[in-house]
Amino acid sequence: MSGLEDLYREIILDHYKNPRNQGELPTPPAVVEQGHNPLCGDEVFVYIEMDGDTIADIKIGGQGCSISRSSASMMSTAVKGKNSEEVHELIHRFKAMMSVEEERPGHEGEADLKEFGELAALQGVVKFPVRIKCATLAWNTLNQALERVQQAG
């Protein structure tokens, strides 16, 4: 099943089967945001608890396909302990990686992907356009959660 290996990298399947940071956080003090993929009915809950400007804890709830769950799982490990500016930067870069070639800003080269660590495994998703929304669902939801924190603060 060639082609599929691009989409379903080992690391993706690992995060799908053993999702990190799964669960809930009490709100408040945490903030929760819900995201939907209207196409397939996937839903994600992103709980974040801030310590000042830093994401002190994050939990992921909901249900979805391997791409959306593993993306959420990897995201949770990538953003934990980062401040909002770093997280926004990561969200921006992740979404750039997920956008189709023509829209991708020129400077997002190989070097950037290396710094991405595990997240780079999701780059194969771009070849399956209907799945891009699965991969970005948690990230958009995290963005909304951060907006909510800002509004409250």
């Binding site: 599929l4 089967k17 196409l39 009915g41 396909c65």
Partner: protein, 424 residues
Amino acid sequence: MDSLSATEIDQMDRVGNRTVAEIRKDFPIYRRAQDSAFVFLDSGASSQKPTAVLDAMDTYYSTTHANVHRGVYAIAERATELYENARVTLGRFIGAPKPAREIVFTKNATEAINLAAYSLARNLLRSESVVVLTEMEHHANLVPWMILKEQIGFEIRYIPFDADGFLDLSHLDEILDGSSIVAATMASNVFGTLTPIKELAEAAHSKGAIFLADGAQYVPHYKIDVKELGIDLLAMTGHKMLGPTGIGALWGREELLKKMPPFMGGGDMIEDVRLDGFTPNEVPYKFEAGTPPIAEAIGLAEAVRYLEAIGMDEIRLHEESLLDYALKTIGENFGDSVVVYGPTDATKKGGVVSFTMEGVHPHDLSQILDQSGVCVRAGHHCAKPVMKRLGVGATARASFYIYNDKSDVDSLVEALAKAQAFFA
């Protein structure tokens, strides 16, 4: 399965007096797909089109296209004649007593339901009114009523369904009490289960309510007689019954249609327009505002002729045999690791199998099946309340039609095994 008889296999590979192999020759998509596997199991979402349908539309455009009901010249008259004949062909197909006056062409079933809902609401629905739907409706028969409810403020009640996907009629009398409109699907697009339409229509009428049936999943697969069923309105969609996209219809009893106000306004739907008002045209034209989908109506009529030539009873028999085989083979091969939603008795449902595989999300499943050329639908099937009841976000759904045969079911099962191994 070890005990398939020759007759059983034959029923899967034949529809009436034609083999599936022959039928596939009528569908150009099977020719294009020849070099790679093409196992199309998503007719529940939209069916493929036979050459006859494409040719009918093509011939119309290349020989007689002109606007209908307007020009006084030969090709315009021919276009009008073809369009009006299409109306009669579709009307007769569903047993309409007055096909020329009772079929309103729309864009699809969704528009047919919206037309019925908005038009009925104007004269019938007040804040104290009650509209009854079922819990297994497609969004097309939920959301229009919800939008109207926001405006008017009536009550929506739901007939529930049981664990097998059958409507639970034990409290029907109470639920229908005081209702003015009852609207229900004829076949669930998730479970494939059939609803007792005749009984529902009778119960609705006993309360003085109007009964609307959503035939989107039923009309393509079964013989139907609207008079015999005793319904008032029927929504249909062309693209699921071998016809083109962009065409559907609302059938309504003539007396009822006459009483219903227009839904959309514009050209063709009027008899007279003055600056101080308008007089609507007669039925069915008063519901068809603007230039209609002429070629699509002609294509749909050709699809109806194609279906009639094969025979609706034969189509049902064929689908039932595939369904029976699919349910048994999936059960035997996957046991509890694949959950099938709805009854496992093929005689009780349409040619639809909704299922989930343990540990594999439907979205991933359908992606992996696609590698084997197997096309199934994955998602919530525009029935999110049903998904919620089942406690799943989505299911995978395989659905059958006249161009499917035993080998398609075998390919599905093989591909499912690959998917299971991939995620194991």
